[in-house]
Subunit: 221 residues, 2 copies
Amino acid sequence: MFKKVLIAEDMQDINKGVHTTLCELGIQEIHEVQYCDDALLKIKKAQADGAPFELVITDLSFKSDWREQNIQSGEDLISVLKKEFPNLKIIVYSIEVRIQKVRSMISNYNINGYVCKTRRGLLELTKAIAAIYKNKQYLSPEVSQALSTKNTLEIDDYDILLLTQLSKGLSQEEISQYMKENQKTPSSLSSIEKRLNKLRIDFKANNAIHLVATVKDLGLI
Amino acid sequence: MFKKVLIAEDMQDINKGVHTTLCELGIQEIHEVQYCDDALLKIKKAQADGAPFELVITDLSFKSDWREQNIQSGEDLISVLKKEFPNLKIIVYSIEVRIQKVRSMISNYNINGYVCKTRRGLLELTKAIAAIYKNKQYLSPEVSQALSTKNTLEIDDYDILLLTQLSKGLSQEEISQYMKENQKTPSSLSSIEKRLNKLRIDFKANNAIHLVATVKDLGLI
DNA sequence: TATATCCTTACGGCATTCCGTAATACAAAA
DNA sequence: TTTTGTATTACGGAATGCCGTAAGGATATA
């Protein structure tokens, strides 16, 4: 079994829950951090001391508070870690169930496991740890389709940006302006209209209000 | 200190984290459930056996899964418990920070504590337990204003209904129809317009889309 | 080079929303 | 009963959104 594991998770209770589980698995050295910057620091330190971490279990979202942080999100943390410590195993432990998100985490960072925080989250986590210890990738059932099928609607970053601006109360005209100012293309009012129309159809929404409500429910924005 | 405590929380990891904390506080008998129905059952059983629970720590939202549940939410559970077991102490432990929600929980059910799940959630929880053991109410800082100020906008059930229909993609005309069919008043198109305009101003929203996005963020719908 | 295809942009008509003003209905107070 | 205040409804003009059609531009294929 792994000997040295780091938990990066801002919520104290979950942190503790995971800790207890790792203890039960017989992992000897378990460290916890509640901030991404601390995670990177600890991992660098351990490496320098010749006793590197073997596994990191990290959340994706970290609430910001009074402490200034260089690394704002779990995704940023993973990006840095996979670059500086290619051999370090990483499990994402998150409430996020967006297939698209999981797929991008896998393809961009080649994470070793993705476990959804659910009722049985800890059980899944132990399964993931066991699998990864045998050098196998593990995805909890909710997202395992991320590897196989291509069921997802093709929603790209531009769409997300568009929907975000729309939800912030900008008119289509204002969004057009915004896109021009930010060098994003397409930026014409007509294109904005067309794109939003496509999204409305994709999401079976009656109008823009319905569209925004829907994508918010899906957690896309 | 309390001797017998029940934790009702669907997420395994949080459940475990809270459990560990309670152990450290020296509470002797700690029970956990992941479903509301189980909570009620356990509490009834304990009462019948002459060894009732003294304190319940419960979440508000329970994800539904394959198991059929009579009690769907923490709020429903609390409603039942405070009716059947008036002496039972209840702490809500939730990620929900809506002042309005907290206030309604206090006034409707007279809950003994409300702790927000945050970085320092468990610390707050131990404070809450200590306070409640001394028969004092405890609210974590994020929501403590719920007791004092009256900052809240007056949003009634009609507004919620209105916003809900709007978010479902109905046009103002259709909402007017809907209100007439359901004997809700006011129901004229003009009144719908006026009310939505008021809500837009209250929530400082640029347009209807922005309004719906905002109230969804606030968890009002 | 020519042709096809896709993407972006432009325009126009119609529907809905936005917003101010005013009339009507209802209920409490004089 | 009359008065007064509030809530509901009605209406009209301006702005925005919705939707189809079509022109212009870039890239790929023959």
